[in-house]
Amino acid sequence: MTAWLTPRNAAAAGVLALIALLPVYCALTGNYFLMSLFTRILILAMAAVSLNLIMGFGGMVSFGHAAYLGIGGYVMGILAKEGIGAGLIQWPLALAVSGLFALGVGALSLRTRGVYFIMITLAFTQMIYYVAIGLDRYGGDDGLTIYRRSSFGDTIDLSNRMQFYYLCLGLLLAVVYLVWRIVNSRFGMVIQGARSNDRRMRAIGFPTFRYRLVCFVISGAICGLAGVLLANHTAFISPAIMHWTRSGDLIVMAVLGGMGSVIGPVIGAVAFLVLEEGLSRLTEYWPIILGPMILLVVLYARGGIDGFLAGLRRG
């Protein structure tokens, strides 16, 4: 029974088709709000996928992943304000700085486990949050408006909403593919083995710390890329991007969509942000509805939405 037409694949193909054709619909109807919403969804989905690489596969529950969104965004914003608009400088630098920050945070926090790990990652993010507030030259608490998006010469124009949308979609698919390769590689086996039984991994000869650290850095760098995209999308960056509730949102997206698969967090990001948007139009008390819904998924669909869809086949 290895048929391709499972409920899960059908749902994935449907969502993908919807996302791929959305700009066409928007161009026809002139509803650019929807396109803007989905650009945001694609970007945050990328952040959630990066978080899930360490959380779902590596068992490292980082409660501070928004820091990398912020670092990527601020690197881009600061360079733009200082007159350096070239994407080929901004983007690699943003990835490098995010990765370096992850290296520092990981080197210290990966020595701890469980709740301590969660708290230390949160503490580092709070630290960088207040650093951003202290950046008076770059708007401090009020944030920084970015007047020019990253320029890539004539190849792609990020101010063009449709081009930017497809760039985000393409990058998201590339990241999903990359993470999928990583997870199934030898490296991925070590990461998952360390989640499952770290003591035994060390006993059979794997120095797991350095593997987990490299994984943490990869995850941070990918999330930094999402940060650059987010700053380009909103043309604005402020410390709020790194607020701890944003880190929480990313965890919820991964849990909601399903931590057991690479694609799960993408589904979770779509579901979470569409629900948030839809419910907030119905009532200003929308968290009262969204909260219990998430609770139900966590309690009754252990593998998230993706796990639920995958289970339908066997059902």
Binding site: N184, V190, R202, G205, Y211
Partner: protein
């Protein structure tokens, strides 16, 4: 397997000299001398609390002795950590099963193979389709009779199968010597009988140090037996000699016979 067939007296593969370990006032290993020749299955027996697990932990490298030396294939391995010993070809199975529950049986063994296949900073090729890992892993599963359960999650395997899998993981690293810590513990009579058959096949190509409570199994399998009582080896020799040894009978029939103390 290469045996030094030509030499007059075979050099022991494992040699233990004056191994001593104290926990507070208790001497768990008291000046232990031990030699295991290549190809030999050497069993260590002794009543509960005799220090068998402490001894194997020192041989495996998890516990550092207070005094004494351990030689493996003429290397002094006393200061080496577990993974370095395992790299030299000294593999160990665990008494308390310690596997990767959310992996399949084959994945577990493949991880053990991977641990000995150089570094794992390889990010692209699918490890589950890598014949360099899967072929030896399948072979190891077949040797312990688990090939039919290769794709079953470890959490769905029975206790007996967990023990078999432990053994497969030790075998997967292509060791020259196996340290087996009570491989029959918790097995039913039927499973025990199967384990004995399996170990008898394994000993064809391997040197084995076996710690075991099941006396029938020990006397059926061992080439030589050492008896450990209160951290001391009181007798060492062929099974028939051990069975006839007076000191051993006293130790077992006297104060040592009560299990679970």
């Amino acid at each position: 397997m290469v045996f030094s067939r030509g030499s007059a007296v075979a050099e022991p593969l494992l040699r233990v000299e004056g191994l001593t370990k104290r926990f507070g006032g208790v001497i768990a290993s008291d000046d232990i001398m031990l030699e295991v020749a290549p190809g030999e299955l050497h069993a260590i027996i002794g009543p509960n609390g005799a220090g068998k697990s402490t001894l194997i932990a020192q041989l495996g490298g998890e516990l550092a002795p207070d005094a004494g030396r351990v030689w493996f294939d003429r290397h002094d391995i006393t200061p080496l950590p577990p993974h370095a010993r395992s790299a030299l070809g000294l593999a160990r199975s665990f008494q308390i099963t310690s596997l990767f529950p959310d992996f399949t049986a084959l994945d577990n063994v493949a991880l053990a193979v991977q641990a000995h296949a150089g570094h794992s900073f390889r990010f692209w090729v699918d490890a589950r389709r890598d014949p360099e890992l899967r072929t030896p892993a399948r072979a190891a599963l077949a040797r312990v009779g688990l090939e039919g359960r290769a794709d079953t999650l470890v959490s769905r395997l029975s206790h007996g199968e967990h023990r078999q899998l432990e053994l497969a993981m030790a075998l997967a690293t292509r060791p020259r010597m196996l340290l087996l810590d009570e491989p029959m513990a918790g097995l039913g009579p039927e499973e025990s009988a199967r384990a004995v058959t399996m170990l008898r096949e394994l000993k064809q190509g391997l040197t084995i140090l076996l710690i075991e409570h099941d006396m029938d199994a020990v006397f059926a399998l061992a080439d030589r037996i050492s008896v450990l009582v209160y951290g001391r080896i009181i007798a060492s020799g062929a099974p028939a000699a051990i069975r006839a040894n007076r000191e051993v009978r006293i130790a077992y029939l006297g104060e040592g016979v009560t299990d679970g103390r």
